[in-house]
Symmetry: D2
Subunit: 345 residues, 4 copies
Amino acid sequence: MKIGIVGANGYGGVELIRYLVNHPYVEIKLLASHSSNGNSIVEQYPHLQGILEMNISELNIEDVKENIDVLFFATPSGVSKELIPQYIEAGIKIIDLSGDLRLQDGSLYEGWYKNTPAPPFALDKAIYGLTELNRELIKEATLVANPGCYPTATLLGLIPALQHKLIDGNSIVIDGKSGISGAGRKTSATTHYSEINENVKAYKLGKHQHIPEIEQIVSQIGNENITVTFSTHLVPMTRGIMCTMYANLKEPINESKVISLYEDYYKDDYFVRIRKGGTWPATKEVTGSNFCDIGITVDERTNKLIIVAVIDNVVKGAAGQAIQNLNVMYGWDEKTGLQTTPLFP
Amino acid sequence: MKIGIVGANGYGGVELIRYLVNHPYVEIKLLASHSSNGNSIVEQYPHLQGILEMNISELNIEDVKENIDVLFFATPSGVSKELIPQYIEAGIKIIDLSGDLRLQDGSLYEGWYKNTPAPPFALDKAIYGLTELNRELIKEATLVANPGCYPTATLLGLIPALQHKLIDGNSIVIDGKSGISGAGRKTSATTHYSEINENVKAYKLGKHQHIPEIEQIVSQIGNENITVTFSTHLVPMTRGIMCTMYANLKEPINESKVISLYEDYYKDDYFVRIRKGGTWPATKEVTGSNFCDIGITVDERTNKLIIVAVIDNVVKGAAGQAIQNLNVMYGWDEKTGLQTTPLFP
Amino acid sequence: MKIGIVGANGYGGVELIRYLVNHPYVEIKLLASHSSNGNSIVEQYPHLQGILEMNISELNIEDVKENIDVLFFATPSGVSKELIPQYIEAGIKIIDLSGDLRLQDGSLYEGWYKNTPAPPFALDKAIYGLTELNRELIKEATLVANPGCYPTATLLGLIPALQHKLIDGNSIVIDGKSGISGAGRKTSATTHYSEINENVKAYKLGKHQHIPEIEQIVSQIGNENITVTFSTHLVPMTRGIMCTMYANLKEPINESKVISLYEDYYKDDYFVRIRKGGTWPATKEVTGSNFCDIGITVDERTNKLIIVAVIDNVVKGAAGQAIQNLNVMYGWDEKTGLQTTPLFP
Amino acid sequence: MKIGIVGANGYGGVELIRYLVNHPYVEIKLLASHSSNGNSIVEQYPHLQGILEMNISELNIEDVKENIDVLFFATPSGVSKELIPQYIEAGIKIIDLSGDLRLQDGSLYEGWYKNTPAPPFALDKAIYGLTELNRELIKEATLVANPGCYPTATLLGLIPALQHKLIDGNSIVIDGKSGISGAGRKTSATTHYSEINENVKAYKLGKHQHIPEIEQIVSQIGNENITVTFSTHLVPMTRGIMCTMYANLKEPINESKVISLYEDYYKDDYFVRIRKGGTWPATKEVTGSNFCDIGITVDERTNKLIIVAVIDNVVKGAAGQAIQNLNVMYGWDEKTGLQTTPLFP
């Protein structure tokens, strides 16, 4: 199966490469990027020397039609919504890692992303690619909107509690902590080593564009209009996201009972691992892997459920989940090419 | 004025030294430690070469009576409660950086610290040393219980909102993020570089011994029994604490109005700085200084007040505040010896 | 093929697990450790949940004889030399990751390791497992002494220059920089996060036990008795070693000529990559992979050859090279199970 | 005494501010910068809130003549050489932190900096501001060329050995390791957190512009033309430089004898500290301070002297030494305003 990567020279693109060069059923046929066409990917990423010595080229629809079955878009916000429609029409399967196709309601995109939305037919076609939630729909999909990094950790952490109606949806507070790779490779004051190192920094409190994406799914699961409190923090590490989530319990419930419900909910999901009671996941325990690890406690003093979910933002939060979705679309074992053990220490 | 430091070879002790060697009215006359008496502090801390080449000795009450006016205890939990009573009786002024004298209700200490509490007369005598809150009481104090690091950031962030009755006390959620120095110098698996680096780790969710300390003060301010949700996370940096706090607003209120109330509340407090609307503090902006920086937003969508407070846990969260209290006790300018500019970058 | 890991709960052991769980021809049948027998490896390493849920047991020669073909020793210095003799006699193939069998001259071991050496028959039998150097010998080996981390980077960097007699062996200066994982999992003051972070620390200058290991091989290649200057530094990162090497050129030579000689020397060695002139490797470009990347320059002003070699100390410097040797011993493709792309960023 | 800072919004400038706000004899009257004139320094550096709330303005010679006694230039290469001549003529005292006035031979500047040199009268006037070396000359200076960060550590490490003719100057190899703040605040791929973190990176081997600066002084001390081998590496930390230096001993000499010579050489230099035999300095032991710590060993096996020198590149390697020079110029105690204890941990 032949694939192409648009935005190949960003962190999402290069992580797709890391996994896909070892995927048994896939051949990388195209690395596309507007900014660096013509150069070898190795010039920008010397770690790929001897692994994938391929030139980056300008995206061209005729070439794609001829040579590519599936196109990954690992492009910044606002790019894929312009390009994708013609590729849909050309019958190319697409997995979009950007936020352009995740919000079914175009006006939400307009409000949060300050940009015109993708055309309605594209939004209609797009399946939200949280694999564990939408596996059945993804099997038939030709266009997948791969989830954001924060929403992936948040939703995998909240869905079982919402499904089992354990918590009051509108009481949810999500405190997100992210490594710096989430900000991409573009240089800026906020990614400068000297200022990020030895520093925790709050940003976009209550204003992050992942908020409507989370609300869309929790409202669907909770079967009501849910508004969440969501805040984000940069922590001094490269990879990893932790979301700590707080919600009021509808009824008092035993911690071990909640853990059992979660274990049961995810019993067929290889990439979701539930921690034993009294222990908590750490981001390093999933680094470089597609796992989402979840720890749970009940704070009896305040009648709150507290959930901690961790992922590697570049893997389960981006490239890994995209490949998981590719595997599902093609009927391959979901783990194909993705069984990297976390890099510890 | 002659001071002594008990627990001189821990991080709290060595930070007291950092400031006190430059304090114009203070002379360090004693470094005491059980574990390393007889050696020079420079052997354990070569950064003090040429600055304070002093031997560490065993604590001895007769020596103290003769030579010391004020004794700082920078000892682990459970030590100072045993030692302090005799020094109180001997008329020595004491500033205790540990948690042993912070909880007025001994049974709370017993429950959270799993240890017998200090004798009642000591608890009665101890003034809780959150300088900005208790400045008047500290002026007359002979025994100060210096606040914990998390409570310092949390309380400075919450007190104005509680004083102005803006928020529902029982809805408070505090998400704490701390650098590793908070765990002290003792080696353990949880301070091992290879496992802390590139890692965010949740710990003691809903079970941290700083919870009753926070509740004691917010209940007093809020004039009702308040229970808080409090969780803690280790982030890969040495110094710094950030507490992100969420609470339900009693009435809708404008963000800039809240900021004004905070600015006004702290207008005479040099070490508390309120950020402008739309900006957020970062821990590095207070590193190596005694400041507590606070950012505030109103999340109108969920009717929550969100407060972010940062301190250097070793300074305002320990040694710096202890010296601030010393200054208050002696009627000196509160900033004496403490005007270090944050180390940035 | 059935393997066992002795010292499974150290960083070398857990890295062997990371690779071997995905090795197509290998089955992990035994995790042994003296200190933690009886527990599941997952209790100590939660990142292995769902990947290898296996108990750690006490090493027992009868079990090994029955169930194991190859035994990896990832034990601290001084352990394998005591245990290995009986396993050799029992016909078990052994790959020893410790320093116990690397020095052919037992008296050198005695001098540098301050311990009695392994018995002569074991030292005679042991093949030094620098795969690129000794591939032919390893094919027939039943006992492999896997190289140290610093020697691996150093020797791969120096051997071509010595083979081509470009440099004066006795002028060699090696400046080594290592991440902290090289110090193992044992807690100590020198691995404490708060003191390692934001710190570069020199240690064991001219006294590191890897010196005789390096000298043994460079003397053999250079065909004369060579003494090297070797110093080591801890840098604040978890994985990675860089060795910067300086040597006097015997004759002036063009940089591009040297690079060609290196490229040619390693043309059949997948895991050694030579950088283009004017560019230098960085440790992150090999993190999590078995590559050794080498950059070369000629400093014409001082007539010196400068070589920079980087490896991941836990992979090519330990577990990865051990598996590479296993592959060679069994006639499998050397890359089997080892083709992980470096984790970048 | 009234001072101004040109390039106030770079790291050198902001570090000058950190110290000068607490300097008893100095008043900051001007913050100048081309790129951000008109804004408050606090907008770019919130850590200065309440400490120095001053606007940044465009540099204007008439204002300077009227209001300023001493002007610090903390500007990028190539700026001060254009601006300084007119300020010299106007009788303003100048301390230049850039490399523009360090090389007495203009043609060397041209070759290494690829730029036209400063006018000869300025180069003639400029005193090289390595305080410990040129203290007497600095007392009379009106123009000081403050040393580079690498040269400061290197020269303080080498000078006593050269003075005592212990080593062969042309055998010197200097292996430099620097934190990232040395690259300044400008954003670039080489300062991106995600790529610097967990990474050691070699750069500019044998080509760094600090080479002629080092050679100028060691040749002067050694009284012969000396060429040095000098290489540089970025290590993942914000502040700190370590230079490890290797040189052939002319005659065998005892380690403790060398240490005594060094102690004696620096006995009146408060900011240079010599470590005891068998111990080595670490960069963190000088962080945030103006110290240069030096460790020494004799490698008897190879007859080499090995010297390790560490500084905080932003303090002793830039702003701190500049203020030390100011103190010397004005006859104040050299330590005035500079007695910050290193920030440890």
